[in-house]
Amino acid sequence: MVKRTGPPTLDRRTLLRAGLAGGAGLGIGALGACAAPGSTTAAELAFWHLMGGGDGIRMDEILHEMAGELSGARIKQTVLAWGTPYYTKLAMASAGGRAPDLAVVHLSRLAGYAPGGLLDEWDIARFEPYGVSEETFAAPIFERMQVDGKLFAISLDSHAFVRFFNPDVADAAGLLDADGTIPAASDVEEFVDQARAMADVTGDLGICYGWLGDSAHMWRLFWTFYTQQGATMEMADGVFQFSEDAFVGALDTIIAIISSDAANRRSDGGFAFSTFTSGGAGEFLSGVWDVPGLLDSGVPLDASPIPNLFGTGLDAVWGDSHAFVLPHQDRPDEDRREKVYEAVSLILKHSLTWATAGHTPAYTPITLEPEFGGLMPNTHYAETAEYLHFDPAVSFAGSGSNWQAQFGQAVQAALLGTASTSDALTSFTEMTDDFVRQAVI
């Protein structure tokens, strides 16, 4: 193993006082921190995000709703492919000096993104006139919005991984309690038995979960089961520490579910979604962002948190948060910046619409409104906001990170049944070693 020259990662971080613009390699600053060429006028704010699907549609709605309220500026949004490609593009644009005025990132990515000058800081005081302050966010979320004590993100929501189910199928399978909920299974056998009962009703599948070829989706369910065992992943003294037992335990649990006769072992996102919406399955494990698509499909819909299947008594699910960031600009135009502050606060105030995309708004005044309490099936999983687990707080992890993509590659064969879970553990350890060794930040 070759040692990198230069100070170790942790010390490097303390060196980062001033954000350096890209282009330092030649000592020439990027020319003109103007916004994207040919597409923005002075009154047009370029806004990039990675929300496709129902999220994209709701964001579009919000931008339309607030168009009249934002005086003297217009938001021009662009939606880029989710995941590593998006973060790669955002970094390249920030380095290139033609970054957009505003962008969305996952809070789980902030640790690997904020240090180093790809982002500019927010000034919470500038939000005051628009009714946004530290008090309008839950304390743990506000904590995650900062890196090294600096505010780099303004959170829009939290979103979790949940179990959607078809109440008609569950009822016919005799699984529903009087209050319309499915009793929480206490272990994976019981969970699979419930799925089997639903498969008997549909005559097809009981449960679907579209993970094939989708690293992020594999990670979400894995992290749900991993954290339910009380295990963590973190960097300590330059070493990545995690629980091998919990790792294997989580994979075994997923395999027990997808390899049962109530599931299709090889299902990708499209297959799972269309099987559930066409009534071919009783339950569907996915993220809350699927709510709009599920509602549109007309399938009878309800939801619940994914129960703890390990007997540890811990409520834990995977979760993350979309947050606004200011991609670095060499010489930001303060008038435009002011408009960005105003625009972000307007989006936050319109986040009831965002809630209809399945997310739980981070702007607390919205969650106190009665309309929010009436959203279905949102209220049946709203509790997850209190115990969701973000990805490991290491610089290379997070939603849509390369590490996450590699995680998927490491475990996919085990999920397919063409390799063992110990093979998956070995690949995961090896690839994580590479990331630890190569981490820039």
């Binding site: 193993m1 070759v2 990198r4 020259t5 230069g6 490097r12 060196l15 980062l16 954000g19 350096l20 613009a21 890209g22 330092a24 390699g25 590593t84 973060y87 790669t88 970094a91 390249m92 380095a95 993104y113 240090p115 180093g116 000058g117 790809l118 094939l212 070829g213 690293s215 299709n264 090889r266 299902s267 990708d268 499209g270 297959f271 670095h328 290379f396 390369n402 993509a405 590699q406 998927g408 590659q409 490491a410 996919q412 064969a413 397919l416 063409t418 690949s427 090896e430 590479d434 060794r437 190569q438 820039v440 930040i441």
Partner: protein, 307 residues
């Protein structure tokens, strides 16, 4: 004129030419090219060498520092780099063989006085006109494990097809299949041009001598196509070794790095992991391999031409 049948007569054969005119103003003619060539080909090559000796990163963490050969040392010890190189070689072997044999066979078939030439040419050549993104999206759809046409067809005859692009044991073959479908048309045209340039009299003479079709193929056609084959192999190796598009688009290098090509690894380390310095070092290792390959091919060609 070096028109189409160049493959039959050696091109670049010495011609008697009068000496060039002294014309210093010729510099003006080549100036635009020289400037572009210097800026966008020569300079990146030189600058990349310097970059590979630094720890420059895209995120702007610390100014770039000179770190000597540390990047190279790291690259040589980097299992993913070796894996990517191995994948690239494997991909090159897997694609070059069918992309030489199939287009030759197609060209010989089309050359058999069959009707409907335009249709055969259109069908075989058309995919070559598609952008890589289009090819990838179509192939990903065809290869979908349950909803794809390929596995659906296999299911009809009672075979459960693999999850082509999600299974590390089949992903590379799936990408190779897509590549063959996409690019066979180019080599097919090169072969067709050469086959059609062979004078018909040769075959007539052979036929009069009683040589069978098979005999004609082995002792006349194939030897006459040797130069074209050498060219097709050379072009194909150069094209396959720098593969990026369809792998990035179809598998992203997965599953389990089984399809990650070297150029993709350069992209990943440089842009997704922000390590411009390290990525440049990998580029240079790749560059060295390509130069060695090119020189080897050049020598082979030179010897062929001489004999």
């Amino acid at each position: 004129m070096s028109s189409v049948p160049t493959t039959v007569t050696a091109p670049g054969a010495a011609r008697t030419r009068r000496p060039l005119r002294r014309h210093p103003l010729g510099l003006l003619y080549v100036a635009p090219f020289v400037v572009l060539f210097a800026m966008f080909l020569v300079w990146p090559t030189i600058y990349g060498l310097w970059l590979s000796l630094t720890d420059r990163n895209l995120a702007g963490v610390d100014p770039a520092a000179f770190i000597g050969l540390a990047n190279y040392a790291e690259a040589f010890a980097d299992p993913v780099m070796w894996r990517s190189l191995g994948n690239t070689v494997w991909f090159t072997v897997l694609t070059t063989v069918p992309l030489v044999v199939l287009p030759l066979a197609f060209a010989l078939l089309v050359n058999l006085k069959v009707r409907g030439q335009w249709l055969w040419r259109l069908a075989i050549f058309m995919p070559f006109l598609l952008a890589s993104t289009v090819v990838s999206q179509i192939c990903v759809w065809l290869l979908n494990p349950d909803l794809g046409l390929i596995n659906a067809t296999l299911a009809r005859i009672g075979i459960t097809g693999p999850a082509w692009l999600q299974d590390p044991s089949t992903a590379m073959y799936a990408v190779v299949m897509a590549t063959v479908w996409w690019t066979v048309g180019f080599n097919f045209l090169l072969y067709l041009t050469s086959v059609q340039a062979i004078p018909a009299q040769i075959f007539e003479a052979a036929a009069v001598d009683g040589a069978s079709g098979w005999r004609q193929l082995v002792s006349i056609t194939l030897p006459l196509l040797r130069r074209t084959t050498a060219l097709v192999v050379a072009l194909q190796v150069l094209a396959s070794i720098k593969v990026f598009d369809q792998i990035y688009q179809m598998t992203g290098g997965g599953p389990e790095n089984s399809t990650r090509a070297i150029l993709m690894y350069v992209y990943d380390t440089g842009f997704s992991s922000y390590r411009l310095g390290y990525a440049s070092a990998i580029s240079y290792i790749f560059f060295a391999i390509v130069v060695v390959l090119s020189l080897a091919q050049f020598r082979l060609f030179a010897r062929r031409s001489a004999s």
